[in-house]
């Protein structure tokens, strides 16, 4: 987990541990905001800013924040930065605000951010945490952008709002709807698996480390409980 080679920390998030396609975190915004490329990139960048700020802040305070109270502290910090970003977007990018709507608020509970706070920022120095935030944020943005490109180009015959005349006749409107999102996401994950020939640790199912809830359920306890639940 700990990797002080700053470049690899940065690229880790983009490729090897891509939060969306490999770690499978933050599925809700991935599916909901990828109907248009501009919405997806906006969402990705908003999450990137929140991730960067919260990672820096939490890393700064990692010695001060008491172990037992850390989750509420993280939640407050993240929710605070989310609201800041939300207000800024509302003020300076009203069009984007309209597109993202409630999903901006829901960055608060985006698994990636709390997950990185818990798994990375509270164990690493400020600079490395910041790099991790940027890397993860970029990975998130790129994955969202890729998915949105597929959905918008083939579903609405446009790219970032610019119409593609050739595809106008052949657009598959289904892709811009809810089921299309799930389908494209499933296909992309399969594609990534096929391309990496299974080298990337695609989760066969949700285990504790892949589940962002892990941070709130005190690592590992979650797995035990799940077993209990099965009984």
């Amino acid at each position: 987990m700990k990797n002080n080679n700053s470049l690899s920390v940065l690229t880790n998030g983009i490729l090897k541990e891509n939060p969306v396609l490999v770690l499978v975190l933050g599925t809700c915004p991935t599916l909901a905001t990828t109907t248009t490329v501009s919405g997806a990139i906006g969402m990705g960048l908003a999450a990137l800013v929140v991730l960067l700020c919260s990672n820096i802040f939490i890393s700064l305070l990692r010695k001060i924040i008491p172990e037992t109270m850390r989750i509420p502290c993280y939640i407050v910090i993240i929710a605070g930065f989310v609201t800041v970003v939300k207000m800024l977007v509302q003020a300076f990018f009203p069009g984007l605000y309209e597109v993202l709507g409630v999903y901006l608020d829901l960055i608060t509970v985006n698994c990636i951010i709390l997950g990185r706070a818990e798994m990375f920022a509270n164990k690493n120095t400020v600079v490395v945490s910041a790099l991790d935030g940027i890397g993860m944020g970029l990975g998130f943005t790129l994955a969202l952008g890729a998915m949105a490109t597929v959905r918008e180009v083939f579903g609405a015959a446009s790219f970032a709002g610019i119409a593609i005349p050739l595809l106008e006749e052949y657009k598959i409107e289904f892709l811009t709807k809810a089921p299309g999102g799930l389908l494209v996401y499933g296909l992309l994950i399969a594609l990534v698996y096929a391309l990496t020939k299974g080298c990337a640790p695609v989760k066969k199912s949700f285990s504790c480390s892949g589940c962002a809830n892990a941070s709130t359920c005190r690592m590992g306890e979650c797995a035990n409980r799940e077993k209990e639940g099965n009984n």
């Binding site: 008491p66 207000m87 800024l88 509302q90």
Partner: protein, 392 residues
């Protein structure tokens, strides 16, 4: 204990810092957000008044405005008004936004939402730009959507009237029905506002229409623009009536008419086309005849099997002049053919004879309904001919 106090204080500190950060961001962004919201609210208004700079809402309850008006805005530099109206076209709830400048000319009109079937109303508003009240009726109609067109034009007219009223002028904002009701009530206060049109079976010279009070207190005779009230005993209430005696006679005639049922089974030729036939003491005939219109069910060409006829009641003199005409029932397409049930259509047949009854305005977009109606009228002429001939 000491530890948990320390933990809690750290948490409280973090909360405070974040709250301060939020409050700071809020003070920076709040005015910008407010401005954005105002701008986007004005955007719709600007669409119909492109030169507008700012708008303020008008308190509607301070004015007597047409019933269709839901919102009104005053352009702050005095350019004019923007009016939002809700009206019913072919479907319910057509919302129209219309801008009117201070000289009473339409600056723009858009349809914000509608349930219309053709969706041509979306761009129809462009036709009204730079038109004033007098030019509204001349605007081209939406092909195949008479009701939508009429509703749109009325909404634009209402918007023009609203602008006049808001500008301090006064306009008669009553609908045609309201004007009629007001005139009737004024002519015969005893009628208590409940009037019904009388189906005439006698020729009444110079009189255009007769309404009877539902409480049987009397009649209102329409002579051109004048509404003359008369009590049931023939007393003319309205002053300055030229031939009050004629009115008294007419009232007496209407009441004294004796109508006799004719057994149409005695006329084998008529049983298929005539529903019922009556004859008055004075020798006029009242026949109800069938005509095959378009039919609402399945769009079949004719509906003799399902019985979907247009049924028309016609009163006629023995020599074949129509005294009055009324649609009893119809099964025609909503929004198109069903216009045959409106007085503006069937009223056209009054006074017509067999020679000229076809010279009427057809219902636009409903040729088969019009033809079916003419068929029913034609059958009425034939029936009266048979009935009167049979007696002779």
């Amino acid at each position: 204990m000491k530890n948990s106090i320390k933990n809690l204080s750290v948490f409280v500190c973090i909360c405070t810092v974040m709250t301060l950060l939020l409050a700071l961001t809020n003070t920076v962004t709040a005015p910008i957000i407010l401005e954005n919201q105002n701008a986007s609210a004005n955007k719709a208004l600007l669409e119909v008044m492109p030169d507008g700079t700012g708008f303020e809402a008008v308190a509607l309850e301070d004015y007597t405005l047409p019933a269709t008006v839901t919102e009104a805005y005053r352009e702050t530099s005095g350019l004019g008004y923007v009016v939002k109206l809700a009206t019913a076209g072919y479907g319910p709830d057509m919302v129209i936004m219309c801008g009117v400048d201070s000289s009473g000319v339409v600056t723009g009109a858009v349809c914000l939402s509608s349930n219309e079937t053709l969706s041509k109303e979306k761009t129809y508003g462009e036709n009204f730009i730079n038109k004033d009240a007098a030019a509204i009726d001349a605007v081209d109609t939406i092909g195949g959507a008479t009701k939508t067109t009429a509703a749109y034009k009325n909404a634009v007219k209402d918007a023009l009237n609203t602008a006049i009223i808001l500008g301090g002028g006064s306009v008669d904002v009553r609908t045609e029905e309201q004007i009629l009701a007001d005139n009737l009530a004024a002519a015969l206060p005893q009628g208590e506002g409940e009037f019904e049109k009388t189906f005439l079976v006698e020729e009444l010279e110079n009189i255009d229409a007769v309404y009877y009070a539902e409480n049987e207190s009397g009649y209102v005779f329409v002579i051109g623009e004048q509404y003359v009230g008369a009590l049931a005993d023939g007393t003319v209430l309205t002053e300055d009536v030229e031939n009050a005696d004629a009115i008294t006679d007419a009232a007496a005639l209407i009441q004294s008419t004796v109508i006799e049922e004719i057994d149409i089974t005695a006329y084998p030729d008529l049983t298929k086309t005539v529903v019922s036939a009556k004859k008055t003491e004075t020798g006029n005939y009242i026949v109800e005849t069938k005509g095959a219109g378009y039919g609402i069910k399945g769009g079949n060409e004719y509906h003799p099997a399902s019985g979907e006829y247009i049924i028309v009641r016609v009163s006629m003199t023995a020599d074949g002049k129509i005294i009055d005409c009324l649609t009893v029932s119809e099964a025609e397409t909503d929004g198109l053919g069903d216009a045959c049930a409106s007085e503006s259509f069937y009223g056209q047949f009054v006074g017509k004879t067999e020679e000229n009854y076809t010279e009427i305005d057809a219902i636009s977009g409903a040729t088969m309904t019009t033809d079916g109606y003419k068929q029913a009228i034609e059958r009425a002429f034939a029936a009266v001919k048979t009935l009167s001939g049979g007696e002779a």
